[in-house]
């Protein structure tokens, strides 16, 4: 019988799902605002490869001529988005959860192993622990992006009272562009996140709702370690049948 592992603490689950609503609200109302001056393109030299956004996009989502509404919603959701984000950072710091989330110097190499493995370019399995190094980069990075959105947002919301901030970000127009670019970043994060959640299967997804997951080890409960790149043992034992070759490779990765 496989024991249950407590994977995600309740506050993190609530804040995660609340953020889904808040960030969606911010992006939707942000699009209502952006429509009024949609000047950003992806260009190669002088050729416009993609215009943010084509007419069909605005029409399909009903985003036309709703600037006033967009501003009101954006300046309402901003409080929730900021407070929820600050609460999340505060909680991870106080509870010690940050240890699972923040990458270390050793994480760069491990993240590379994860990328190669997930792209099926290598059979070296990344260590199985709560969050692998690639996840750590992604989840810490997206929190930093959230902080960036708050700062760039404040810089375009109050460019006189926070003139020093607007100035530090390169001026009003740059701050608006940075605010937009971060939003594109969330969309890319979301696509990658959803892909990985689908790949990981139902149990992993349900754990973000109920908090628990069956441990992946049959013989012993998974030990969640605080320092990365230690203890590959439970995983290796599981993989013994797959041959010593994989094991050697994994050991090698660990040693280097």
């Amino acid at each position: 019988m496989r024991p249950l592992e407590h994977k995600h603490p309740r506050p993190i689950r609530w804040m995660h799902w609340l953020n889904v609503v808040l960030l969606s609200g911010m992006i939707w109302s942000g699009l209502l605002i952006y429509w009024a001056n949609d000047v950003y393109n992806v260009r190669l030299g002088r050729r416009v490869l993609f215009h943010f956004f084509p007419d069909w996009f605005y029409n399909a989502l009903g985003l036309n001529a709703r600037l006033a509404q967009g501003m009101a919603w954006h300046l309402f959701f901003m409080w929730g988005f900021a407070l929820n984000g600050l609460a999340y950072v505060g909680y991870t710091l106080i509870s010690g959860e940050w240890r699972h989330l923040v990458p270390t110097r050793k994480s760069f190499r491990e993240a590379w192993v994860v990328v190669l493995h997930d792209l099926h370019l290598s059979n070296v399995e990344p260590p199985k622990r709560k969050f692998n190094a690639a996840q750590q980069f992604a989840y810490t990075g997206v929190i930093l992006m959230g902080g960036g959105s708050l700062l760039t947002g404040l810089a375009i919301y109050k460019p006189v009272q926070f003139g020093w901030l607007t100035n530090a970000l390169g001026g009003y127009e740059w701050a608006r562009f940075e605010h937009f670019a971060l939003t594109v970043g969330y969309v890319l994060f979301f696509l990658m996140h959803i892909t990985q959640v689908i790949r990981s299967g139902w149990g992993n997804f349900a754990a973000m709702v109920c908090g628990y997951e069956l441990t992946c080890s049959v013989t012993q409960p998974l030990t969640v370690v605080t320092s990365p790149v230690v203890s590959l043992e439970p995983h290796l034992e599981q993989k013994v049948a797959e041959g010593a070759k994989t094991r050697e490779k994994a050991e090698l990765t660990r040693a280097t």
């Binding site: 249950l4 994977k7 460019p159 009272q161 009003y172 709702v209 030990t223």
Partner: protein
């Protein structure tokens, strides 16, 4: 921190898989209820009665944001200024209340008294503005739509005008001569050193499209507050009407 198994892996009378299924069911039910409550809340926010073009709870949030902004407002904080070489002509984005041509010689600015029934206390010619100390500034004109343009302005400070011809009221309202376009300002923004009654733009007298003979330029607000072709200035104890605030926008719009 090591993971704590809910049940001991050995000697457990409960099947963990069954237990997990039950917990998952409960959590999804709780999540579903929370999502339903949240969706109802958002639907209510969206469809509540309108208060000047936007649902009243959202209007309240805009007013709350205004109080936060005013608490932080520093009268000495200045909008950034730029080198005059960066100044260009801003686009003419609205014609509301504007006449195609104006006769500056016959132009008058009415000064209206505070109170329920405002009376015209003064009717000033454009020369009265030219007689006030002249100031120049190169500031960024920021439109509520999201675009901005560096522009050079010359004119008299609104604060000088108010001190000479006005009243110490908490609000100032400005309108075009035909009253078709109108804006309201809080006193702190009106008295700010960069709030100009401008008569020149980029070294030239204003054109009618840019508000000749006299317009407001307030770099502390979005461009919609920088009313063109000012016909009347009213001193008010209550928040004056504002064209775009009646159409769903924030009344304060302060930077």
């Amino acid at each position: 921190m090591s993971a704590t198994p809910v049940t001991s892996p050995v000697n457990s009378p409960v099947d963990p898989e069954q237990q997990l299924r039950q917990m998952t069911r409960r959590s999804f039910a709780a999540g579903g209820i929370a999502a339903l409550v949240g969706a109802t809340g958002l639907w209510w926010l969206k469809s509540a009665q309108l208060d000047d073009g936007i649902s009243w709870p959202l209007r309240k949030v805009l007013q709350f944001n205004e109080r936060v902004s005013q608490a932080y407002f520093g009268p000495d904080r200045l909008a950034p200024t730029f080198d005059v070489s960066r100044a260009r002509e801003p686009r003419v984005n609205g014609q509301l209340g504007l006449k195609k041509s104006v006769d500056a010689a016959r132009w008058r600015i009415d000064v209206l008294s505070p109170g329920e029934k405002p009376v015209v206390e003064r009717s000033l010619p454009i020369g009265a503005i030219h007689d006030l100390p002249r100031f120049e500034m190169v500031t960024e004109f920021k439109c509520v739509e999201g675009w901005s343009q560096v522009v050079q302005w010359a004119g008299a400070r609104l604060s000088d005008f108010i001190e000479k011809y006005g009243h110490e009221t908490p609000f100032v309202g400005l309108t075009t001569p035909d009253r078709k376009y109108y804006v309201g300002l809080d006193r702190a923004s009106a008295m700010h050193s960069q709030s100009l009654l401008a008569y020149e733009m980029n070294g030239e007298p204003l054109t009618p499209g840019h508000g000749a003979p006299l317009r407001l330029v307030c770099p502390l607000k979005y461009g919609v507050k920088s009313i063109k072709q000012i016909g009347a200035i009213q001193f008010a104890n209550n928040r004056p009407a504002d064209y775009w605030a009646e159409r769903g926008y924030d009344w304060y719009l302060g930077h």
